[in-house]
């Protein structure tokens, strides 16, 4: 209770308070098919957590083993930090034709959209930290969602013999191995979709192991 009142004291915006409320409920025993997952990806100006910024977020929802195209988010952020070098990777120019919104607005939309869904990202730690840093800049807390890393998931789907714990599979390697089309690679939405596809494919492989539960997936390292 102490924690709760302490948080409540802070002057959080409504959307963040609503978001936090979602995690106070104790009804996590939902069957896998009713759980909402969200595969997401961020495009950034670089790899520096402090100085670089999120350029765009792409996300798409998964429920009951299928990707819901209608349950998606694609936002582009106004940029203060501009890094010439990464433009050719993500293709987002400083004053491009895309509709851009402020970091605050983008986070508001993203948080409202994800709710308490389980997040999925490839090399999730990077995307999570980038978002958390942005949240901090807005005076908000870290993401509360459970997060599944497709890189880790993929490694665990490999047979013991071929598994290399130190190996960090890139999204491209995943695509090749799982035969996923690489169109729209390096756009946030495209990569989110590829990540979602990879998630479904790996999950169906893992599910063949008897008694594989959602908890097992979240416990994977």
């Amino acid at each position: 209770m102490q924690l709760w009142s302490k948080k409540n004291d802070k002057n959080y915006p409504d959307f963040w308070r609503e978001y936090l409320d979602l995690f106070n409920k104790k009804d996590q025993n939902m069957p896998l098919k009713d759980l909402r997952f969200i595969a997401f990806d961020t495009e950034t100006t670089g790899f520096d957590y402090t100085n670089d910024r999120v350029l765009s977020i792409g996300a798409v929802g998964i429920k009951n083993n299928s990707i819901n195209v209608s349950d998606q988010l694609e936002v582009y952020l106004k940029q203060d930090v501009f890094n010439e070098a990464t433009v050719e990777i993500h293709g987002i120019r400083k004053h491009g034709a895309l509709d851009k919104i402020s970091e605050e607005e983008a986070l508001r939309q993203f948080i409202k959209y994800i709710g308490n869904a389980i997040l999925i990202a490839h090399h999730a730690n990077f995307d999570r930290t980038m978002i958390n840093k942005a949240l901090q800049r807005q005076g908000l807390g870290d993401l509360k969602n459970k997060i599944v890393d497709t890189g880790v998931l993929f490694r665990n789907s490999k047979h013991q013999i071929y598994r290399n714990d130190r190996m960090n599979y890139s999204l491209d390697e995943l695509c090749n191995d799982l035969k996923i089309s690489k169109s729209d690679r390096h756009t946030a939405s495209g990569d989110a979709f590829i990540t979602a596809m990879a998630f479904l494919k790996i999950l169906s492989k893992l599910k063949k192991n008897k008694g594989f539960e959602i908890d097992d997936m979240l416990r994977l390292r």
């Binding site: 792409g58 299928s66 990707i67 819901n68 195209v69 169109s183 729209d184 979709f193 979602a196």
Partner: protein, 639 residues
């Protein structure tokens, strides 16, 4: 808001019908609401007999098989590849699925909500027609199942979804059987029997359809005692009727029949109940238009009133044959089915020819088919070989009787020619006075052939002894069989002579095991599969059946089967002969269909190496059976 994922889905969909007809923004709004499914090999997308999903599907990647379970037998209806639609039932009937969709390999499937798509169907006629056509092509399989008669029916109706024939207008019956409101049940039952129909439409004084009565109504309502024979038709009719205009397509008709669970649609002038009845369309008529169901073709043959129209049936038979070969249906089944249909065609032609005659036949007669048709081995249309046997008449009436039957035979052979059976070049037809005789004369002829053997005699007897009664009085035909067996029992000499002719058939391979081809004539440089390979097997089977006094076994394959039972020590030879014969028949049929001829003369350079080897493998049993004949009838001394 930008939606990159939806744009990519749109890029994919726009390549395929019916999406290619839609406007860009329409397609994008559909794409935004799609679900993407990933399925592994063996995963179900939906199951037969389970409620319809709210979505239909299009394959993005991989392949999805549509299967129908029937009597614990799972049959494949269609395989959908990238861009193919399936699960369209929701768009049309919203009842339980009639088939299962199972991933044939790892696949990605897009699920499109019916609610989202429905507005586009209503607005866009072309989209609607495409969906109906696809649905109908898949649905076709349930229709064939309603005729449970033949096992094979369930497996033959694989049709490709893109088959646009489903979109052509139906051909309906123009003169429907009708009756008036005040008719009694008995009146219409008589009318239906007379016109060989399974329905009657009740019309009012303006000729508008008011109700319909079908066979099943009579069964359910009259024969059960619920209504009496004197009841009025209006008491038992189903009313109102389902009406359509004549512009109805095959697909729409099919769907209408499934949707309303009925067997007949009334065709009216403007498509409503309040206009004049101009025709009727039954589920049976529809089936015929698909042409892939043998029992329906036979039923249809029995109803046709013009010989020209029978030709259409024979055309359908050819289509059927192609499907059978593609699916490797056992040769025995193919032969049986095709023979049944051919018989039905011949019988119908005889019936129609009899009707054309000014008087009924003066005495009983039997119409025989000979040669390959008699052996029930005629797959492709070849020459017609037939004969007439009629009852004995007084000497002074003989000529006039023969003249009558010759005239009848003329009509029949002409009819057969019309539907595609070529005239026999050797005039071995009932229209030839030599092959249109009384039973006594036939007996004499048969005895002649057997006791005073000549080359012509052995040749003719080898054709005539494979006769099959097709129409009329079979007593006379049985009598002829007896004559043949009596003759055989008297001396083995006749059989020996037949044996010699079987050994003298030109051999298929030369000294260096090369194929021997025709040296000259029209078919120069082709391989004559009939006389160099099949005839020996046919002749040997016939001779040995006669030797064993096996009556009523005319078919070469059946003959070898019986022989294997009778002579266990030669079982292997007989079985290999049967096998070789099956291969040869299929070979010939394939060639015939390919070149639109009898398939008899094969151009060797059109065969693959594999085919040539397969063909050569059939020649070994030929040598073996020739050897067996040589020893059995001590033919060396005779040759």
């Amino acid at each position: 808001m930008k939606n990159t994922i939806a744009e990519r889905i749109q890029d994919f969909l726009k390549q395929f019908p019916p999406f290619d007809i839609l406007k860009k923004e329409e397609l994008l709004s559909i794409s935004k609401q799609i679900r993407v499914l990933y399925v592994e090999k063996g995963d179900y997308i939906f199951r037969q007999d389970k409620p319809c999903h709210e979505e239909f599907y299009i394959v993005r990647e991989g392949a999805v098989g549509l299967y129908r379970n029937f009597d614990n037998n799972q049959s494949l209806i269609d395989v959908c590849d990238a861009g193919d639609l399936f699960g369209l039932r929701i768009m049309i009937i919203k009842r339980n699925y009639r088939m299962s969709a199972i991933a044939d390999e790892e696949s990605i499937v897009y699920a499109i909500s019916a609610k989202v798509f429905e507005p586009f169907i209503e607005e866009n006629k072309e989209v609607n027609r495409f969906l109906l056509g696809t649905f109908a092509a898949h649905a076709r399989n349930y229709f064939t199942e309603t005729e449970k008669g033949n096992r094979i029916d369930n497996t033959i109706s694989i049709e490709v979804a893109k088959d646009l024939s489903a979109l052509r207008s139906v051909s309906y019956r123009k003169k429907p059987i009708t009756c008036a409101l005040e008719d009694s049940v008995q009146d219409i039952a008589k009318k239906m029997t007379k016109k060989k129909g399974s329905y009657v439409v009740i019309i009012n004084e303006d000729k508008q359809p008011v109700g319909i009565i079908t066979d099943s109504d009579l069964r359910a309502k009259v024969t059960t005692g619920m209504f009496s024979l004197t009841s009025l038709v209006t008491e038992i009719m189903t009313s109102p009727v389902i009406t359509y205009s004549k512009k109805l397509t095959v697909a729409e008709a099919q769907i209408a029949l499934i949707k309303h669970d009925i067997s007949h649609l009334c065709i009216t002038k403007d498509g409503t109940r309040n206009s004049k009845l101009i025709g009727i369309l039954s589920d049976h008529d529809l089936l015929v238009s698909f042409g892939n169901n043998p029992s329906v073709l036979i039923k249809e043959a029995k109803r046709i009133k013009k010989i020209q129209k029978l030709r259409y049936i024979r055309k359908q038979v050819e289509k059927l044959l192609e499907t059978y070969l593609e699916q490797d249906i056992p040769t025995v089944h193919i032969l049986n089915i095709i023979s049944e249909i051919n018989d039905a065609l011949v019988v119908r032609i005889i019936e129609l020819s009899l009707k054309e005659m000014s008087i009924p036949p003066p005495v009983a007669f039997s119409f025989l088919v000979l040669g390959s048709q008699g052996r029930r081995e005629q797959v492709l249309l070849t020459d017609q070989d037939n004969a007439i046997v009629f009852e004995d008449v007084a000497e002074e009436d003989y000529e006039s009787t023969q003249v009558y039957f010759l005239e009848l035979a003329n009509r029949i052979t002409k009819g057969l020619h019309t539907i595609g059976f070529e005239y026999c070049p050797a005039e071995m037809m009932a229209s030839n006075p030599r092959w249109c005789m009384s039973i006594s004369k036939w007996e004499l002829q048969f005895r002649d052939w057997m006791t005073i053997p000549t080359e012509e005699g052995t040749l003719l007897s080898s054709i005539f002894f494979d006769f099959q009664h097709i129409y009329g009085n079979s007593v006379m035909t049985d009598r002829l069989s007896e004559v043949v067996f009596e003759g055989v029992n008297k001396s083995n000499r006749f059989l020996s002579l037949l044996g010699v002719s079987a050994l003298q058939k030109p051999s298929p391979l030369g000294f260096f095991k090369q194929f021997l081809v025709e040296q000259n004539g029209e078919h120069k440089d082709t391989f004559d599969i009939k006389s160099r390979a099949m005839m020996v097997l046919i002749d040997a089977a016939r001779i040995l059946t006669l030797y064993h006094n096996l009556k009523g076994v005319n078919n070469t394959l059946q003959r070898y089967k019986k022989l294997a039972e009778l002579e266990p020590k030669n079982k292997e030879i007989f079985e290999s002969c049967a096998k070789a014969f099956r291969v040869l028949i299929k070979f010939r049929t394939r060639q015939g269909l390919l070149h639109k001829d009898s398939g008899r003369f094969i151009k060797l350079n059109t065969l693959s190496k594999k085919d040539k080897l397969r063909l050569k493998r059939c020649f070994r049993p030929i040598r073996d059976i020739q050897e067996l004949l040589r020893i059995r009838f001590q033919l060396k001394t005779l040759m």
